[in-house]
């Protein structure tokens, strides 16, 4: 082979190698970068037999992938994407325990977030506390924020939203002297009714009776007739489901001829309620109002509403109620700069935690009234609305300090 031909071959081979490197380098870099991102498995159990569970799932399926697409979270220099595993707990203790067992033993998760029902949370807690799993749950039961728990935190405002709600109710119904509670006869209903009774009495409203009903009740006519016969000034619905069943209660109360004030601590699922109850039946109901429903919502609320509408076609305000656990979890990971449940739990229990989500500002608080001096429960800004001609209209807003102040006034002790 002549020298000239050999040089030409060498040139071709070099060019080929350069080209190959040019193509392979980005692939290698991509592979390297995806190798650098670890996956953090996080679990949740939701009542997928109820609208609130389905809506929460739908919302989590938007915000978690969006969080991962935005780069996930970096802890001690290591990037993590979140892999959220969702199981159905059927809003029952048995379902909750089975789902939590599966998450811990089968999926090996170390963090559980956004559970809704008190019964599944309390049932699952017996295992999660023992296995040192960080739980940032919703729920209403005081047992979730009890002093014996080390790894469980209540990130919903159900326990702390009652004093501010009743302060607002006193403003709206200044002459009201008596109230009747309608509550489901389960863990959530009993816990909420007990707390709401304490709050109402502390604010000078006499509780005539607490009427319990099975969670799957659909016919409220006899209950409504009983409430009507008691002639109370207000009827309140501690622990009620936010959707169709709540609508059926309002409808039955209206049909029974009840004309007093109506108060609810939950953020109602307006679409579901209106599918069974007329505008007249829901007129005047005082309840929580999500920031997304404000005439000019903040940017975070606007974005999330847009994302949800883009994916599912129609906005559901119920999707926001039970996701504070997600935002609290992300804030806790950032604050602790660790994924270790022990490190996170100890840090936030001792120093507290603040976070912001589309429903406003949230903070962890102590519960001295429950003999718990650790930061374990949650307070949040509260916005209230009442139904006027079938539309939820703004009534007022209580700041974080006002909410904490109202809780301290009713339950006692220093919460922050």
């Amino acid at each position: 082979m002549s020298k000239k031909v050999c040089i030409r071959y060498n040139g071709l081979i070099t060019a080929f190698i350069c080209l190959a490197l040019l193509f392979l380098l980005p692939l290698h870099l991509q592979a390297q970068s995806s190798k650098d991102v670890k996956v953090l498995k996080v679990g949740t159990t939701l009542p997928l037999n109820l609208g609130m569970g389905v809506e929460t799932k739908k919302m989590l399926e938007i915000i978690v992938p969006k969080f991962n697409e935005a780069g996930g979270i970096t802890i001690k220099g290591q990037r993590y994407n979140i892999d959220l595993i969702i199981y159905d707990d059927k809003y029952s203790a048995e379902g909750g325990r089975a789902a939590v067992e599966r998450l811990i033993h089968q999926d090996k998760v170390k963090h559980i977030i956004c559970q809704i029902g008190s019964a599944p949370i309390v049932a699952g807690m017996t295992i999660s506390e023992q296995e040192k799993i960080l739980v940032m749950a919703g729920g209403a039961s005081e047992r979730i924020v009890g002093p014996k728990n080390r790894y469980t935190f209540g990130t919903s405002t159900t326990r702390t939203s009652i004093p501010p709600l009743w302060m607002m109710a006193r403003k709206l119904f200044p002459n009201a002297k008596t109230v009747v509670f309608l509550s489901p006869d389960d863990e959530t209903g009993k816990a909420r009714a007990k707390e709401e009774k304490q709050v109402a009495e502390a604010l000078g409203v006499k509780v005539l009776d607490v009427l319990y009903y099975p969670r799957d009740t659909v016919d409220f006519s006899s209950i409504a007739a009983k409430v009507k016969s008691m002639n109370s000034d207000i009827v309140a619905y501690p622990g009620a489901s936010a959707g169709t069943q709540f609508g059926l209660q309002l409808k039955a109360m209206y049909a029974a001829g009840f004309k007093g004030g109506q108060v609810s601590g939950i953020t109602p699922q307006i679409e579901e309620i209106k599918s069974v109850a007329s505008n007249e039946a829901i007129e005047g109901l005082l309840c929580k109002m999500p920031e997304t429903e404000l005439p000019s919502p903040p940017a975070l609320a606007r974005t999330i509403k847009q994302d949800y509408t883009n994916k599912y076609g129609k906005w559901s305000d119920a999707s926001l109620s039970w996701i504070p656990g997600w935002y609290a979890f992300v804030a806790a990971l950032k604050k602790a700069d660790s994924t270790d449940p022990d490190v996170i739990a100890n840090l936030i229990a001792e120093t507290g935690l603040d976070w912001e989500m589309p429903n406003g500002k949230f903070t962890l608080v102590k519960r001295p009234d429950l003999k718990n001096s650790r930061y374990t429960d949650t307070c949040a800004e509260q916005i209230y609305g009442k139904f006027v001609s079938g539309k939820l209209t703004y009534v007022g807003k209580l700041s974080l300090d006002e909410v904490i102040g109202s809780c301290e006034k009713v339950f006692g002790g220093k919460w922050k």
Binding site: L48, N49, L50, G51, G53, V54, D185, L211, Y212, Y213, D216, V218, D219, S221, S222, I223, A225, K226, K228, S229, G243, T244, Q245, G247, L248, K251, A255, A256, G257, E272, K274, S275, V276, S278
Partner: protein, 272 residues
């Protein structure tokens, strides 16, 4: 009255076709979902939707009879087991088609009537009237029509009825269709009153069985009286006893069974 209507359908299926239908509550649920789908998805008038829903449920019942129960008819235990399987399939189907969320229809009739100190919503009064009319119609069907007479004949003695030229297979299928259509009608007219879920048939089936036990297993009149006893005990029981009304219900059933072990209008069947 809704319990009466559903229990009557159950009695008809049990009495004539000899099928202990555990899927009866699911036919009730199917009627509610069919009405909901026709009203909300296809935007058909509510009353027309109920009529179509009854037809859909009746056709589905005939289909179920022809392809499931026809082959095992006569074996009460096998029929019961098959109906449990059918119940699971219908419920799963509803879950897949409609999801787990509760659904509801707006009230079709507004206003209320005051009797003494009690307000009665007009829509409930209309439901009661419809149930009474349907029960009268069912009585007429069974007592005065050729089909009804054939059903009673088949119930009394299948072989003798067949020898008289009655097509028993057709009568079984029609009894199944009529019984299930009653459940479908109940589901349809109840849709604007209560919420609709894939599990709504369970509690209704349980209460229908209670009606059967109280009234007597195969007695139509027993179904009517049993339905009224159960309905009244639950409604008035809650008013006076609150959450204890369920206990009262079992006390009432217990007392009735002590004095009438076969139910109010039933017969005691003793094993030999």
């Amino acid at each position: 009255m809704v319990y009466v209507m559903i229990a009557s359908g159950l009695i008809l299926v049990l009495g004539v076709a000899r099928i202990f239908n555990f899927a009866h509550g699911d036919f009730y649920m199917l009627g509610a979902f069919a009405t909901f789908a026709l009203c909300q998805v296809l935007h058909i008038n509510f009353y027309l939707s109920v009529v179509i829903a009854i037809g859909v449920v009746a056709l589905f019942a005939i289909f179920c009879y022809r392809f499931i129960f026809h082959y095992i008819r006569g074996n009460l235990l096998l029929c019961a087991a098959a109906s449990i399987g059918l119940s699971m399939m219908i419920e799963r189907g509803a879950l897949i088609s409609f999801g787990t969320q509760e659904r509801g229809l707006p009230s079709q009739i507004t206003g209320s009537m005051t009797i003494g100190t009690v307000n009665l919503p007009m829509e409930k009064i209309v439901v009661i009237l419809v149930c009474i009319a349907v029960m009268v119609g069912l009585y007429y069907l069974l007592m005065a029509t050729k089909l009804g007479k054939a059903m009673r004949a088949v119930k009394l003695d299948t072989e003798a009825a067949a020898l008289q030229g009655i097509n028993t297979t057709k009568i079984y299928a029609l009894a199944m269709a009529t019984g299930c259509a009653l459940a479908g009608l109940a589901g349809g007219i109840i849709a604007p009153l209560f919420s609709i879920t894939p599990h709504m048939g369970h509690s209704m089936l349980l209460k229908s069985f209670m009606v059967l036990i109280v009234g007597g297993l195969e007695s139509m009149l027993g179904g009517v009286v049993g339905g009224l006893v159960i309905g009244m005990t639950l409604s008035f029981g809650y008013y006076f006893l609150g959450g204890l009304s369920e206990i009262l219900l079992f006390v009432v059933i217990g007392v009735i069974l002590v004095f009438k072990p076969g139910g109010i209008f039933g017969e005691v069947v003793e094993d030999v």
